[in-house]
Point group: C2
Chain length 131, copies 2
DNA sequence: CCAACTGCGACCGTTCTAGTCCGAGTTTAG
DNA sequence: CTAAACTCGGACTAGAACGGTCGCAGTTGG
């Protein structure tokens, strides 16, 4: 609960390493992994997802690698988490399998949603630049 | 991520049902389960943990059951979650197994902790009475 | 004494996650 | 044109966490 998966953790660290890179440069997944001490084959996966979400750009080929697609200040923690961990969702009563109670749609759903939005607002307020 | 386990969910719903109970009364786990549509044998477990944490009181015997140990306004969501899901902890880099990086103690740990505190502050600010 | 309840621990099955492996496509260097 | 270095994407395995169930011991009220 309120716990980042390792993917999100790795993603944040990687993005942090990627900021402060010269405009033309790029870092390969392998370099990042070695430099940050991340598990070798996990890093490409994380970066790939970030790339297809448009948070980083990738260049193929021999001197390829990754670089931030936007300014570090324009990438929020919330966005990274959403990409790597999927859309959050406070309670698991949405799969349609369970109906919780039949009384309305869960007594506590509404206030819990407010809570969730507040939490997301906090995550939204922090950018990669501030790490 | 930012996701309540079902235990916490059940706990919150149960506490909500327990508030608005006459001072002398008590609800048995079975009654609560039936009334809320929770899985039968899960409810005693959740309530037992809440009881040993001092959030609810239990009375044994034939007419036994559970009731709130404090006013609903004095029980925060954060407390319930902590009891049922364990102490949160934003990132899983504490087990001592991994050292993340050797550079200091994780570049992003500090700002992430701030974030975590803010989230907890949000949870702390909402009580059972407000559900 | 009996019935109904809590309390607590042990026990499975399932699901999610971390992590690894492998093949295919792409670009640059020589 | 060939080879090397890199990204891309899916498939696959192992392990942990979680939800859920069962059974027994202790306790209280009729």
């Amino acid at each position: 609960m309120i716990r980042l998966s390792r993917k999100s953790d790795y993603g944040l660290v990687a993005l942090k390493a990627l900021r402060g890179l010269e405009p033309g440069d790029a870092l390969s997944a392998r370099e990042l992994a070695a430099q940050l001490g991340l598990p070798g084959d996990m890093t490409p996966k994380v970066l790939a997802r970030l790339a297809q979400a448009g948070l980083v750009e990738s260049s193929m080929g021999k001197a390829g690698g990754y670089r931030l697609a936007r300014a570090a200040g324009d990438i929020s923690v919330a966005e990274v988490v959403r990409v790597l961990d999927g859309e959050p969702g406070l309670a698991p009563c949405r799969e349609g399998i369970l109906e919780c109670n039949r009384i309305e749609t869960c007594d506590i759903k509404h206030p819990l949603d407010n809570l969730h939005q507040e939490v997301m607002r906090v995550l939204q307020g922090m950018s990669i630049a501030q790490l």
